[in-house]
Symmetry: C2
């Protein structure tokens, strides 16, 4: 009825003098259609400004080519990069992504249920996990989920995560090798599985070495300025001063470092070691030079996307959990040690 309504395949068919079905085939790669018909149709379509209606196509095909992306951690230092890489990788495979935030009151489950209503072909969940109930709904609907930055084995869901235990072990053994003895652990979110696993690994490694111990554990410290304040608090109590601080975020670690250098005159790394997590660009800057843990985010994103697409295209493949190894990056905030055998320094 709309006077200015959009042209549809019928309109194009009428103008080109063919049937609607033929128009449809003209816009379906690989469909059976003669060159002559295609030419006519393309001309007509151009004249009418016709674009196939993907909503209608989705309904008919029962595939929306839409992927839901549930983003639960916007303060992640690589948030923008992750998003970019995820959307670009999915675009590459001709999927579109619907992004939804699930912080605060908008619960993960609520968002996931909405995705289902939009008939998404699959979902990537970044830094959160669905409840078992929603997982079951997705399983019933045969819509694959891939968890990124979270382990999904217990949910029978695919996941791509980093080996947090490995991170803890690497940090602990690096500090051990560098003869640090009194560790302080600082983290932002105590509920994060990565933080829990990593802390557990550090604790258990330390337990094996009687001359090393954990002086303090503090949670809820997040960001540069919080780190800067926290180091002042820590240093105020001389009897519990650590000689190594492990942070679950580079930003916080950089704040601590700045506090040491500018306000407290603490010698890093001689007097105090600082280790971050994430290897953000600023950590590598000459004046900062923070020893940290590098997480292979790019590979993890590719893996997550590929896993999702595989799951979409072949519903019979079973969920799988991939775990990536992180890497300790020795920079200026931990002592250099030399290997007595080879003479190499690291």
């Amino acid at each position: 009825m709309n006077i200015a309504r959009r042209a549809n395949s019928q309109d194009v068919a009428a103008l080109a003098g063919v049937s609607q079905a033929t128009v449809s085939r003209a816009f379906t790669p690989g469909a059976s259609i003669s060159d002559r018909a295609r030419k006519k149709i393309e001309a007509a379509a151009a004249k009418l400004g016709y674009q196939p209606n993907i909503i209608a196509r989705s309904l008919s095909k029962r595939r929306s080519r839409l992927v839901g992306l549930l983003f639960a951690n916007w303060t992640h230092p690589k948030a923008a990069d992750l998003l970019k890489n995820i959307t670009e990788a999915l675009t590459e495979h001709d999927y579109k992504v619907i992004v939804q935030s699930a912080t605060g009151s908008r619960l993960t489950d609520e968002v996931l249920r909405e995705f289902l209503r939009y008939q998404v072909d699959g979902v990537i969940v970044f830094s959160a996990a669905p409840t078992a109930e929603i997982s079951a709904e997705y399983a019933r609907a045969q819509v694959p989920i891939v968890l990124l930055n979270q382990n999904g084995q217990s949910l029978n869901t695919s996941s791509v995560s980093v080996d947090a235990t490995g991170i803890g072990n690497q940090i602990a053994s690096s500090l051990l090798a560098r003869s640090y003895k009194r560790l302080a652990l600082i983290s932002a979110n105590p509920k994060s599985q990565i933080v829990i696993d990593m802390t557990k690994a550090i604790v258990s490694t330390v337990a094996e070495h009687p001359h090393m111990r954990i002086i303090s554990q503090q949670t809820g410290i997040d960001g540069y300025e919080a780190g800067m304040r926290e180091i002042e608090n820590i240093w105020k109590q001389p009897e519990t001063r650590p000689d190594a601080i492990v942070c679950t975020s580079d930003n916080t670690a950089l704040g601590i470092l700045a506090g040491c250098r500018q306000n407290l005159g603490i010698k890093v790394p001689e007097e105090l070691a600082i280790v971050g997590l994430g290897d953000i660009p600023a950590s590598a800057w000459q004046d900062q030079s923070l020893s940290t843990i590098k997480i292979p985010h790019d590979e993890m994103v590719s893996k997550a996307v590929m896993t999702l697409i595989t799951g979409i295209e072949d519903p019979s493949v079973q969920p799988e959990s991939y775990r990536y190894q992180a890497e300790f990056i020795q920079r200026g905030t931990t002592r250099i040690i030399s290997n007595p055998k080879t003479g190499e320094t690291q």
Copy 2:
């Protein structure tokens, strides 16, 4: 035919003993339906795990409640925040957002055309502009576009941008008031309209003051490390050393500052002023303290979203361009001046 196919409204209707239309009404807020029927239907829906199919609803209603978000600048320091705020604001109004990247080879127009195929109700374009051709297609389809961070007046498109000329004027007059005389301009992307307008404003202000001049203009310098390298190049030529550097990015400015302090021993702000753009968090950190320009991103995002929604809900409203004022933030990289009248310092 699919054995495990999803339940639809027919299935629910059959189970609840009502017609399909009634099921539809049960899931349509405000529709005419008795409590009794609603109860029965809800029970049946729960049993079958039924969720309304929004794709089908969209087809029928000719409204997708989908908004396209074309993101052309992922390196913007606030990229993640902007995305979060945009998606959350739109979610608030019950729209979902499809994000697409338009960097590199994926051209703006191509992405916009795809959005149209997905029957989006509206589009937000961040840091890019469509061609006139696509603008016309959108106008014909009555789908509103809002440009964010770009002026759209010439395209007859709504836009929300910052007053770049005002920024240039503020920078120039601030430097003038602080008695700096020899300016160097450093920018990343010479094609960015903001950079062009801001530069033009600086140039014209400087032209009015014979004792001030522009020593050099350099483009293609982007990021902390690039800034650090650039200041070394600049300082190598003593005869063209500036006494004030204006950067179109805080990150670059911070790199320059670090270069001055750590490598070159340049006294900031006595010997050299540095002004950034964007007021990223790091600029406010105690050890950096960069004088910069603060852009009201949050307000701009709200405005963009509200403008879009207004345009969607009432197609008769005309495109409008909003321009926001930025604010010069005096910190440690420009001299303090005191107002001779009031004695205030700024």
